[in-house]
């Protein structure tokens, strides 16, 4: 007989080894360093966010080791990049390493390039059933994510180089949040890729990410949107720092659900069925990502309401962006209920999730393009 203790699920703390503790310690040290250096510029909320971020990333890194490595790599590369600036923004285009690799702009471009390559490789891996190519694609996606985060971090720093008063977290306009969107969607996908041990969905998810990459490129080259702009007064709030990321975990999850739904619909028709995971797995994935998205989108909307109450004097003003957030939310609430109605599984829900992406995209982008309102988040 076996010992029942072998089956005891270890708690998180029991599972930690010394590397995990070292990792958390490093993050905490970083937070303390930042606090000691910049405390005088922060209000109490920002201090809470700073240490909260250290805690959240420690936890994430403990739960998913790869994230820990990513966090450390982003920190290392970003700090190295920043050290090359010598406090002079002009060096971004003068120093070789900065100009071609890790200035904010170049890092973001590398992110774009690697997302494109990753997509191509994922599709290649699927058609050739190549394990090796699949691994390469995963590595490319991780690298793109690394470069993207480095780009954002360095951009954050660059904004302070323009003028201390201009400095702000780079999630404040459409250009910046599109990058955030790519990164979060990629991370969510990588998480499921590991958990479900499947690389065949990468091509589908990266289609959505690359649509965003296309937008970033157009926005950069046609509109010079990559230029850092100062914050309008309404956006100068600590709420932005959590409202926007929460929103994008929502958007990212919904996009992921839509990509998997596309795969589901193909597999259901017998297309690529032998290469894709089983319908049950796909169905489960769709449900999980919508559940995650719904939870975070709820939080984001509530945070938005609290912020609106503080900035505009009312927690709900039926402004187009708010209203569309509600529509997106209602849509997925309906989806979750539909799933519980007996017999409704499969294609109908997959179609619904796919159409959900259109609704979500409109809330995310269309509102800024076609409707006007209080949200000063930027027009095209």
């Amino acid at each position: 007989m076996n010992n029942v203790m072998d089956y005891q699920a270890k708690t998180l703390l029991q599972r930690l080894n010394w590397q995990d503790w070292l990792y958390a310690l490093l993050l905490m040290a970083g937070a303390i360093f930042a606090y000691r250096k910049y405390a005088s510029y922060m209000d109490i909320y920002e201090v809470v966010f700073l240490f909260g971020a250290a805690a959240v990333f420690s936890y994430l890194g403990w739960q998913w080791k790869a994230i820990g490595k990513l966090v450390l790599a982003v920190a290392a590369v970003s700090l190295f990049s920043i050290s090359l600036y010598h406090g002079d923004q002009a060096r971004a285009t003068q120093t070789f390493l900065l100009k071609f690799l890790i200035s904010s702009q170049s890092a973001i471009m590398w992110m774009n390039v690697m997302f494109v390559l990753a997509m191509v490789t994922y599709w290649f891996a699927m058609f050739k059933r190549s394990v090796f190519a699949g691994n390469v694609a995963t590595a490319l996606t991780w690298s793109a994510t690394l470069m993207g985060f480095v780009g954002l971090m360095v951009r954050w720093y660059e904004s302070y180089l323009i003028a201390p008063e201009v400095g702000h977290i780079p999630i404040s306009n459409l250009y910046e949040v599109f990058i955030l969107f790519c990164l979060i969607t990629a991370l969510l996908y990588l998480h499921y890729e590991k958990n479900y041990n499947t690389k065949q969905l990468g091509g589908f998810v990266l289609l959505v990410i690359n649509a965003a990459v296309g937008f970033i490129l157009w926005y950069t080259f046609d509109r010079q949107a990559n230029n850092i702009q100062p914050l309008v007064p309404a956006l100068q709030s600590y709420w932005m720092k959590i409202h926007v990321p929460a929103n994008f975990i929502g958007y990212g999850s919904f996009s992921l659900a839509a990509s998997v739904s596309a795969a589901y619909l193909l597999a259901n028709k017998g297309l690529l069925a032998s290469r894709l995971p089983s319908l049950e797995v796909l169905d489960d994935l769709i449900y999980k990502s919508i559940a995650v998205g719904f939870a975070f989108f709820t939080i984001a909307t509530i945070l938005g309401a609290i912020w609106a109450a503080e900035a505009w004097g009312g927690y709900w003003s039926w402004d187009p962006k708010e209203t569309w957030a509600l529509i997106v939310w209602l849509n997925y609430a309906a989806w979750l209920h539909l799933r519980m109605v007996k017999g409704l599984r499969g294609p109908v829900l997959a179609w619904w999730a796919l159409i959900g992406l259109i609704v979500t995209t409109f809330a995310f982008l269309g509102v800024n393009m076609f409707l006007s309102g209080l949200h000063s988040y930027g027009t095209l």
Binding site: M1, Y7, A9, T298, E310, W318, I327, H337
Partner: protein
Amino acid sequence: MSSMRFAVSMLSVLGIASIIGTVLKQNEPYSNYIIKFGQFWFSFFETLGLYDVYHSSWFLVILLFLITSCSLCIYRNSPLMIKEWRTFKEQATEKSLNAFSHQETYAVNALENSNLANTKQQLILFLNAKGFKYKFKTQSDGSELIAAKAGTHQRLGYIFTHSAMVVIFFGGLLDGNLPFKVQELLGLKRIETLDIPESKVPAISRLSVDNPSFRGNMTLPEGTSDNVAFVRVRDGYLVQELPFRIGLKDFRIEHYATGQPKSFESDIVITDPDLKAPLTKTISVNHPLTYKGVAIYQSDFQDGGTKLNFKVWNLLAKDNHPQALDGTIFQKGILGGDAKGEGANVVKVEYNDFRKFNIINLSPDGKGKPHNVGPNITYKLRDAQGQAREYVTYMQPMQIDGKYYFISGMRESVQEDFHYLRIPVDDDLSINGFMNLRATLLDPAKFEEIAHHLAQNVAAKNQGPNDKALPVNQPFENSVVQLLRNFAQGGYNQVAQVIEKNVPEKEREVAAKAYIKMINLAAFEAYNMNLATNKKPLLVNNAETQSLIQDSLNGFSDMFFYGTPYFLQLENFEHKEASGLQLTKSPGEKWVYLGSALLVLGIFSMMYIRERRIWLLLKPASNQVHFSMSSNRKNLDFEQEFSLYREQIRNLIVSK
């Protein structure tokens, strides 16, 4: 109504209904809608409440349906959920357990007493290790049932989530306009639609200080104070009285180096008999002040009655002596007419807005950086017939394509874009060069002199330097004078008409070119005549001066389409701003936040706590242990967990 299908339909209906209000801009002045839709559709849409969808009765009814459905749903399902939350389902019989889709039967070595106790011990340890709670029940046939559960808090999530919706709705209702709607229906309140002084607004359109919930606006010019706010309702408003007085000491806009606004701040003073000393506080966007339950927010700003000094040029008069004019934003003034300001040619000026900073992107492809082009004013000129045109005039010259111009726009109605008059600056960056040229080109007495100069210069060019007296070319000079006369009556447009009338079609293009060249040369002479009079250095003929002349002539010609002879050049201003405050009292806010907290708690419990149940039936009679497992959500996690447990239990209790 408590069915899930109904819930899904209601969620969809609400979503679709919400779209309407985002497509049609809400709460615009009604006149805008009339212009957009025409009278018939305007009234039709008004009946449907489309201009304020989210406060219309039908929208409220949809919300009510959803909430009723939600409440019924809670009412119907809660007892079940609470039962499921608490119960171990130890009443399950062997027969019902055998019907489970997830089950396994293990044969155990003779389950005699000591072994039975041992096996049971192992299973209990196993359940503990997996975090299950359990209960025992001896069956009638002597077998023993262990009924275990984990994650049943998920059921509370259902109650939290759905009650949260009711709580949020309740909070929203407290802050909504339902009480006013009822009073309006009963005829107790009525919105005011006339633009009258606040003190004249009758009691029926006033809300007392006791009103528990409102959202109103207040515009305070610097140095003034007030104790009422205006609540906008449809095409009218209500006056909300406040339990205290708010004064504005100062309003400030700070700017980034690029000119974009960095902060809006108001220094406000609250005076209240309940306060020993007035309360002074600075509010800004994202940093409101709450006093006596009323939250005071910085919402916008406007002009507070800036004082303006103008030079008024009469563009169509042949003199170049501007008149002085003083004005104040939001007030009116008079131009023209006789000494008393009366007569047929009187024009009323309505000073509408002054803006100190204007961030505009002037780069030709729109890709450059926007920058501040300085102050502008917006005003209307209304003639004796009541016809009004709107003007926007910038104080400082603006750089366009590398050259500087004074810019003034005119439009006849709000739907139109402005048509701009561009007046080039002279060497001193002033408007005088153009105004002098304009006056000269309008003055027939000067035409002969211009023509003469022109003829002389042309002749001088054609002749060698050694020739003596220049010949007089009278026919040429006459034609120049004639051309200038036409030009003075309407610029290029007038000249074009003359050509059309007098020149055969085939020759028109050639004629037009010649005329334009001639006008250019004449204007060049005129410009230099003025410079000479003012003892300034003359223009030399080069590309730069040619473009100055060309721009001046374009400006001259456009002047005839400017809609008025009066050009208001802003000389000086004394800036006075007004801060726009939003005041809210919102008793429902706490409820909404409470509901939100419940909602988050509920959603996370529902989705991340997984309810699972295990039954282990120990059957000594047949030496078997029966294992069955269920969950109310059948997804992959459950399948995996079941397979894992099945094997682990086998390893535990089946000896090899």
